[in-house]
């Protein structure tokens, strides 16, 4: 009992101390806080994952973990505020999803009875996209050149409508800019395409 009381006295001093730190945790036993990103991971596993180093002494490993985890401006407390993980994930997922979702666009071809849809996110660049369009609509695009657009005597030209509503030639701007500004595609007949730099 005496031991308990002595221990108790120590505690009371700390307990009456006004501080913003977490009560009840001794300095020597202090553990780095885990971040919200660890959903169900037990604390030691999470450290290994975030640090990535497999060898090296335990002490330096722990140190490194402390540094990495302490880097956010405010140390996050596990489980506080008490918000369920699926709720937290909701908002993170929103921003990540807008990058990951598909980008289906309508593709029309002059003279075709109906339109098609393709997912731009599936393609990594213009060659793939144009090849897909060629296969889909059975026409050929030809080789691209900056000065003359596409030249192989083809009747058709691939164009797209951008955010401003203008019809542009496919291929002029970098791929990433293209997929973010492209709203729909149109395989235009050569006769109309003359003004777009197609050498027919």
């Amino acid at each position: 009992m005496e031991r308990c009381m002595a221990f108790d006295k120590e505690l009371n001093l700390e307990a009456t101390e006004l501080r913003l730190g977490l009560p009840g945790i001794k300095e020597s036993e202090k553990q780095p806080f885990s971040t919200i990103k660890s959903n169900k991971r037990a604390f030691p596993n999470m450290d290994e994952k975030s640090c990535g180093s497999k060898d090296g002494s335990k002490a330096s490993h722990a140190q490194k973990c402390n540094q990495e985890i302490a880097s956010p401006a405010k140390a996050q407390v596990v489980g506080w505020p008490p918000v369920r993980s699926y709720r937290k994930n909701c908002f993170q997922a929103k921003t990540m999803e807008s990058e990951a979702t598909s980008a289906y666009l309508k593709v029309s071809m002059d003279g075709a009875p109906y339109l098609r849809k393709i997912d731009l996110k599936v393609y990594k660049g213009y060659p793939e996209l144009l090849k897909a369009l060629e296969d889909m609509f059975k026409f050929s695009v030809g080789d691209y050149s900056e000065s003359e657009g596409y030249n192989n005597g083809s009747e058709f030209v691939a164009t797209y409508e951008d955010k401003d509503g203008d019809w542009m030639l496919v291929g002029d701007v970098p791929w990433d800019m293209f997929i973010s500004s492209c709203k729909r595609l149109r395989i235009m007949k050569g006769s109309e395409a003359r003004g777009l730099g197609c050498a027919v």
């Binding site: 308990c4 221990f7 009371n12 307990a15 977490l22 009840g24 506080w80 505020p81 008490p82 909701c90």
Partner: protein, 584 residues
């Protein structure tokens, strides 16, 4: 007197007992005499086990041989906030295998915070010929493969509710396993599933189940498919939409609006992920009939929320994000006079600064305007004693009050005093209060108030509060009806715990983490109280590798009639009567 016992034939007693549904009443009946005990146990059809480790499956089966419906709860509540380490326990497998042979006529299984595997799901689907209801609330450990087995084999399934479970999404095709001639679905909740389910299978399923009342879709169901689904199920009473966003198209809007108008029975709405405000008016036609609205995923701003909520005059339950702001809550208070339950969730819980205009004022407004308000969960960034006193005076009918002030130990922002007096007013005025969660700066005084006044309190959650063991002592000695107590990061130690050891046997469970309970006290408690499992959870190292006076990480104490459990992971120790057991 023996003569009294023979005056009614068993069949008559059984018939009379069949009208008694509440567990408490049935337990009382069992205690009258031996014959009543026997008749009652053979006629009990529904069993609720609040802690799956409090009793063994064998004991339940032995006492109640003809059960049709069972509900089990596993992990402690704080597992919801990642405070319970993974692999702690809560495995349902032993229950399922025991029941598979003992209860061939089992119809309903409801689980909360338990671990269930695909094997168990398959066993369920094959063992119970009349299986009707499967509710998995906040469970984990299974995948869509297990769901496929349920779909394929449970011919009489009425309800499949996945709650907020964590499901391994292997494929969306599990839904196609419902046979073509299966038509008995009444309730389907797949909102927690991440991946797309086979949409055509869903459409056909919805179309051929005329009794479908509840349909909660997952985020992956796009808005342009919703109208179609609604047209196939105009009898729906509860709907959870999928993602509520699409480019604005007049035809899509009118289809959707028309479909909603066609649902004359719709009373509950949820979902609304990624909501595009332009499509909200599609639900306006049915707003006046809504009693329950869950907008807690809808990242829309206050003006849109006000427009929506102002039309829901019959609303009883609202879950919403703090985007609603004080102004929105004023509108709510003015329009929704039947409101019983309000939950306001934080849109940016980890941001250091407030991002919305939501303060204690919003809650005060609702407490003033909504006379039936009895259940509150409110996240905010500032609170005052004055506000709490006002709320308490306005709403003495409050039964559940959970307040989370986001900054730990935040004082009354007006006076910089602790919030003891405010919470004291809550427990003093709200005499029927059953559940309370505290936050903000709190001394031992608040616990004195709670111990003195909160006589009906059943569940208390405490975080970053109190100054000494006196606080814990007030609660344990004062709250007569306390069943569940969960505490984190409070300076409570051994004294109050040991002084109130007997109290622990009258409660379901006690959780204490990051407090100051020593290993020695835990051992003592385990030795003295054979009716309790005293579980020490410590992921650092075995507690006996340190001096006995060292505080342990986490403590979970619960009463049990089946002794220590045997499925513990390496970081959990049960303090047993014989200390030599389990400690090496």
């Amino acid at each position: 007197m023996p003569r009294m016992g023979y005056s009614f034939p068993e069949e008559v007693l059984e018939h009379v007992f069949s009208f008694i549904q509440s567990d408490e009443d049935r337990n009382a009946i069992s205690a009258v005499c031996r014959s009543w005990h026997d008749i009652e146990r053979w006629s009990r059809r529904r069993v609720f086990v609040g802690n799956c480790y409090a009793i063994s499956p064998k004991m339940v089966i032995r006492r109640f041989p003809e059960v049709r419906s069972i509900e089990l709860k596993g992990k402690p509540h704080f597992a919801d906030f990642n405070l319970v380490p993974e692999d702690w326990g809560g495995y349902v497998a032993p229950w399922i295998s025991a029941m598979a042979s003992a209860y061939p006529w089992l119809e309903e299984i409801r689980l909360k915070r338990m671990v269930i595997t695909d094997e168990s799901l398959e066993l369920i689907s094959k063992s119970f010929k009349n299986f009707k209801v499967l509710v998995l609330s906040s469970c984990e450990g299974f995948s869509t493969e297990g769901l496929a087995a349920i779909a394929a084999n449970c011919r009489n399934l009425r309800e499949l509710d996945l709650g907020e479970s964590e499901v391994e999404d292997l494929s969306g095709h599990w839904l196609s396993h419902f046979p073509d001639n299966y038509t008995s679905l009444v309730s389907l909740n797949i909102a927690c599933l991440g991946c797309e389910v086979s949409f055509s299978a869903l459409e056909r399923l919805v179309g051929r189940c005329p009794n479908l009342r509840t349909l909660r879709l997952n985020r992956a169901v796009p808005l342009d498919k919703l109208a179609n689904l609604l047209c196939r199920a105009p009898q729906l009473v509860e709907l959870g939409t999928g993602a509520y966003s699409s480019e604005l198209r007049p035809d899509l809007f009118s289809n959707l609006s028309g479909a909603f108008s066609g649902c004359k029975e719709l009373k509950s709405l949820s979902g609304f992920w990624d909501v595009v405000p332009g499509y909200l008016p599609a639900v306006y036609p049915i707003c006046s009939k809504l009693t329950s609205l869950n907008l807690s995923y809808a990242t829309i701003q206050s003006p849109e929320l006000i427009k929506l909520v102002s039309q829901c005059q019959n609303l009883q339950r609202l879950w919403v994000l703090d985007y609603i702001e004080d102004a929105g809550l004023v509108a709510l208070a003015a329009s929704c006079k039947d409101l019983r339950e309000l939950r306001v969730f934080p849109s940016d819980p980890f941001g250091p600064e407030p991002n919305v205009g939501l303060t204690e004022q919003g809650l005060v407004s609702v407490s003033e305007g909504c006379p039936k308000l009895q259940s509150v969960l409110y996240f905010c960034r500032q609170m005052s004693n004055a506000a709490l006193i006002t709320i308490a005076r306005n709403r003495p009918n409050m039964t559940r009050f959970r307040l989370c002030i986001i900054e730990p130990q935040a004082p009354d922002y007006l006076t910089l005093q602790p919030l003891d007096v405010g919470f004291g007013a809550i427990v003093e005025h709200c005499k029927d209060l059953r559940r309370l969660s505290l936050s903000g700066l709190l001394t031992d005084r608040v616990f004195q108030y709670i111990g003195t006044h909160a006589k009906k309190l059943e569940m208390l959650s405490v975080a970053f509060a109190g100054e000494s063991d006196l606080g814990l002592h007030h609660i344990l000695s004062g709250c007569e009806n306390l069943r569940k107590l969960e505490i984190r990061d409070c300076p409570f130690g051994d004294k109050a715990l040991l002084a109130n050891a007997a109290k622990l046997e009258t409660m379901r469970s006690l959780w204490m983490s990051s407090c100051s309970v020593s290993f020695g006290a835990c051992k003592l408690l385990g030795q003295k109280m054979p009716g309790l499992n005293v579980e020490v959870i410590d992921e650092r190292s075995p507690p006996d590798s340190r001096p006995e006076s060292c505080p342990i990480e986490k403590l979970y104490i619960y009463r049990t009639v089946s002794g220590p459990r045997f499925d513990m992971p390496g970081f959990v120790w049960t303090m047993a009567e014989n200390p030599a057991l389990r400690l090496s």
